[in-house]
């Protein structure tokens, strides 16, 4: 039966996440925006709280448990499960602060990758490890099949060489999931992901970037210089088997994109709420019933923003719901990320405009959210990549036909 409200069973959990965001995350927001690269020590305690939420059964922490489909054998009826819980909790945490959510120990995007593709032995071994994700290189971003980093077999090990940039939480995490090629002559089929733990000889954090936004989150450049990892650290199959293998690593993105969409939804809602309060104080009340052209321009602008936000929110829930019910959600995941990320960017920027010099000033967080939101339309697949994926799916065209 069609109903677009998540089950009430999640309310208590979502409310908890909101309390954490309101009482813990938001108050630290400006502090770590200003103190870029300082480790938010408060997060250690927060991580324990989030772990507790995850253990409480309903919750999935900040979503780092990834997506594992069809693994609980119960196909009877419709589920609102862990994916729904993940996107809802991420929305709340990012209503608090996107950068701090990205710095949450043990909740990295690498954890999502591990959770999504690791075998049972690896899952157990890597339990409790905070994992970042290292894909991008100085010479390639969206075109992830073009990576130069290599992994050569040597005895029982792989030897990794290359340079990775834009590694979120790359300095603070315990391990990174690195994409590297087993054989550069074999193209994308040879690209595999490897878990490299911090302290492994040959791996070093080269530098940290200074950024437009999400400054609470460290973004690292990591160099691998004859870095040796055991064979058991390869995630998925070691065989170079046509495009199947690469499709496998790319599938990680189907799982992380709804999470990034949820970040955008949370950030956008934060800006909308503050702006609405400001409009109220200025005597402007948006009215859902009156035709927008008969309302003040600011009210009409607000309503248009909230409408796009609503679409982003619902598309994100849809992508999570499909995954919860064991079906492929690649199309909806890309649609959700495309819509949510561009909406969050547009909404936060327009909210600054509506709030004027108050919005532009560091007195409020609006200007920060307008800086933070930009990355959401870039990482885990840019707006253009999401459109490309959506178009290929809708048009049923291959990546050689629609490039």
């Amino acid at each position: 039966m069609i109903n677009l409200e998540p089950t009430k069973k999640m309310w208590a959990f979502v409310n908890q996440a909101h309390q954490v965001a309101a009482e813990f995350v938001r108050p630290l927001s400006r502090k770590y925006d200003l103190a870029e690269h300082a480790y938010p020590k408060e997060l250690d305690m927060l991580a324990s709280i989030v772990d507790g939420l995850g253990e409480s059964g309903q919750g999935q922490g900040a979503g780092a448990k990834g997506v594992r489909r069809g693994d609980n054998g119960d196909d009877s009826g419709i589920r609102n499960g862990s994916n729904m819980a993940s996107v809802l909790s991420i929305m709340e945490m990012c209503w608090g602060d996107v950068g701090l959510l990205l710095s949450m120990p043990r909740q990295g995007l690498g954890n999502s990758a591990i959770a999504s593709v690791a075998d049972d032995e690896q899952l157990e071994r890597l339990d409790g490890v905070w994992a970042g994700m290292a894909i991008t290189e100085p010479g390639c971003g969206s075109d992830s099949a073009a990576i130069q980093t290599t992994a050569e077999v040597d005895g029982d090990d792989y030897v990794i060489n290359g340079e990775k940039i834009f590694v979120t939480a790359g300095d603070r995490c315990d391990a990174v999931v690195v994409w590297a090629s087993l054989d550069r002559s074999k193209g994308r089929a040879a690209i595999k992901s490897f878990v490299v733990e911090k302290g492994t000889p040959g791996m070093r954090v080269e530098r940290l970037d200074h950024k437009l936004g999400i400054r609470a989150s460290d973004t690292a450049t990591i160099v691998f210089d004859n870095c040796r990892v055991p064979r058991a650290n390869l995630l998925g199959s070691p065989e170079v088997e046509g495009d199947q293998g690469f499709a496998g690593v790319m599938q990680t993105f189907d799982n992380t994109r709804p999470l990034v969409a949820a970040m955008a939804v949370g950030c956008g809602r934060a800006a909308l709420e503050v702006t609405r309060d400001m409009l109220h104080d200025a005597g402007v009340e948006p009215d859902y019933d009156r035709p927008p052209h008969l309302q003040l321009g600011a009210a009409a602008t607000y309503l248009a923003m909230e409408a796009d936000w609503e679409a982003a929110y619902l598309l994100t829930l849809e992508a999570a719901w499909i995954a919860d019910n064991g079906k492929p959600n690649s199309l909806q995941a890309s649609m959700a990320k495309a819509k949510a990320a561009r909406t969050a960017n547009d909404v936060t920027l327009r909210c600054v405009e509506l709030a004027g010099s108050v919005g532009y000033s560091e007195h409020e967080l609006l200007e920060k959210w307008a800086r933070d939101s930009k990355i959401l339309d870039i990482f885990e697949g840019t707006q253009q990549i999401q459109q490309l994926i959506t178009a290929r799916r809708l048009l049923d065209l291959s990546s050689t036909e629609l490039r």
């Binding site: 039966m1 069609i2 109903n3 677009l4 409200e5 998540p6 089950t7 009430k8 069973k9 419709i78 589920r79 609102n80 729904m84 859902y288 019933d289 009156r290 035709p291 927008p292 052209h293 008969l294 309503l303 248009a304 909230e306 409408a307 796009d308 609503e310 679409a311 982003a312 619902l314 598309l315 829930l317 849809e318 719901w321 909806q332 649609m335 495309a338 819509k339 253009q384 459109q387 490309l388 959506t390 178009a391 290929r392 809708l394 048009l395 065209l397 036909e401 629609l402 490039r403």
Partner: protein, 448 residues
């Protein structure tokens, strides 16, 4: 033949639940001639309501005798439904009902859309077939002869969406009587329901229209210039309504008018009660809906013509449910655009390859898909909240904003993707472009 009603006096009394309702719909469809007739019967001759007749005025259609049934019986109402899971799966009943409507839209509505647009009228046989599908019964309580046991705005939204995939103008013409039946079910008192509803649950469904819009820029449905003034033991109605669906044929109107300066209210107005003039008002699109203006000049109404209690909340519900219906139509027509442009851009060649292989083209298609899905989900959310008795003003307002903005974008991109071919009537995209401009302009007309 109306289907038999369960006995209310037996040892065990049964209320028809939605499952039963759906079966009744299927039974009705199985008995009807619609299936046999799909695409076979020639449209019957009728006086067309042509564009060239702008300015032609006529008195209201002669109505059947609606004999007032004074009764103290309580009105029949539908109950709210509930669900506690996020779920986008239609019920089995909805699948069945919408499946049949979708076939009708594909086999009858779409093939006839071009002609209906050109002649500014939906052919009688199409209207009859639509009524045989039981469209007027969905939101009428079973106690009043309808099929419903529970309110189901989502069913109504799915039906409207499926019809508009065939053609928006035809969908509006087919759904207009249902909007009046729904208004009577929602707000009619016992006597009003017993006076009018039997016509909508019988075999010859009257043309009927819900008239809200008025012909002026920056129209606000909450500030009407059509006025009802209390007079003797009733009301006197004056003013002009616009975009009234099939007004020349309508036997019964629900007309929105300001009541004594205290705000808008709804009135039941029979077409031949005197004082009504109908003026054809062919517009940019929705031409199959035979839009017209209805000019009320000292229309005298009895006291019992007031529909509902004239509370602001009742009227606001009417406006919101109407907008929800238009959102559903936008989604259906938007899907029609997407389904049409996909094969086109894959076949159309330029610079030695299909234009779909170019990102500038492919990304337009992607954005149609993305925004359309957002429109659809926002519309469903509003409908689901409404049928569960939850507050839905916000959700309807946002869905309308999305469908107005992105619906029109989809309309214009549909034409753009076909280039010059999209601009000529050889393809339906120019019609969808014209129809989609109605979203955000139209008020009333539908009720889900």
């Amino acid at each position: 033949m109306p289907s038999p009603r369960p006995s209310q006096r037996g040892v065990a009394t049964y209320r028809r639940h939605l499952m039963g309702g759906a079966l009744a719909v299927l039974n009705k469809i199985a008995q009807s001639r619609v299936i046999d007739r799909f695409g076979i019967r020639k449209p019957t001759e009728r006086v067309v309501f042509e564009a060239t007749k702008t300015g032609f005025r006529t008195v209201g259609a002669v109505s059947r005798r609606f004999t007032r049934k004074p009764s103290s019986a309580a009105p029949a109402r539908l109950h709210n439904r509930t669900n506690d899971l996020f779920d986008l799966t239609p019920t089995d009943d909805q699948e069945m009902i919408v499946g049949v409507v979708r076939e009708f839209a594909r086999d009858v509505v779409r093939p006839g859309a071009e002609k209906a647009d050109a002649s500014c009228a939906t052919p009688d046989d199409v209207l009859e077939q639509a009524q045989e599908l039981g469209l007027t019964l969905l939101e009428v309580p079973e106690d009043a002869g309808g099929l419903g046991a529970e309110r189901s705005m989502t069913t109504a939204v799915l039906v409207a969406e499926a019809l508009a995939h065939g053609d928006m103008g035809t969908a509006v013409a087919c759904l207009s009587p249902a909007s009046v039946a729904t208004a009577l079910s929602l707000w009619g008192d016992g006597p009003q329901q017993q006076t009018y509803l039997p016509s909508f649950t019988g075999s010859e469904i009257p043309a009927a229209a819900l008239a809200v819009a008025e012909p002026r820029p920056l129209f606000d449905p909450f500030r009407l210039e059509t006025r009802a003034v209390r007079h003797d033991d009733g009301y006197v109605l004056n003013g002009t309504k616009s975009m009234v669906v099939r007004a020349a044929d309508a036997e019964l109107f629900v007309i929105a008018a300001d009541l004594d300066g205290s705000g808008p209210a709804l009135f039941l107005v029979e077409s031949d009660g005197g004082g009504l003039e109908v003026e054809a008002d062919p517009s940019m699109g929705l031409r199959a809906a035979s839009l017209a203006r209805v000019i009320c000049t000292d229309v005298r109404l009895a006291r019992h013509a007031l529909l509902g209690d004239a509370r602001p909340e009742t009227y606001a519900e009417c406006i919101r449910l109407g907008r929800l219906g238009w959102c559903a139509l936008a989604v259906g027509t938007g899907q029609a655009v997407l389904d049409y442009v996909i094969p086109y851009v894959k076949e159309r060649q330029a610079f030695g390859e299909p234009i779909a292989h170019r990102q500038s083209v492919a990304f337009m298609v992607a954005n149609i898909g993305i925004e359309l899905e957002g429109m659809r989900l926002a519309t469903y959310r509003a409908a689901a909240r409404a049928e569960q008795g939850k507050d839905y003003a916000r959700e309807v307002g946002l869905a309308r904003r999305l469908c107005t903005e992105h619906g029109m974008r989809i309309g214009t991109d549909g034409v753009q993707l076909l280039g010059g071919h999209g601009f000529v009537k050889e393809h339906p995209v120019e019609r969808w472009y014209r129809d989609l401009r109605a979203i955000g302009v139209m008020e009333g007309g539908l009720l889900v």
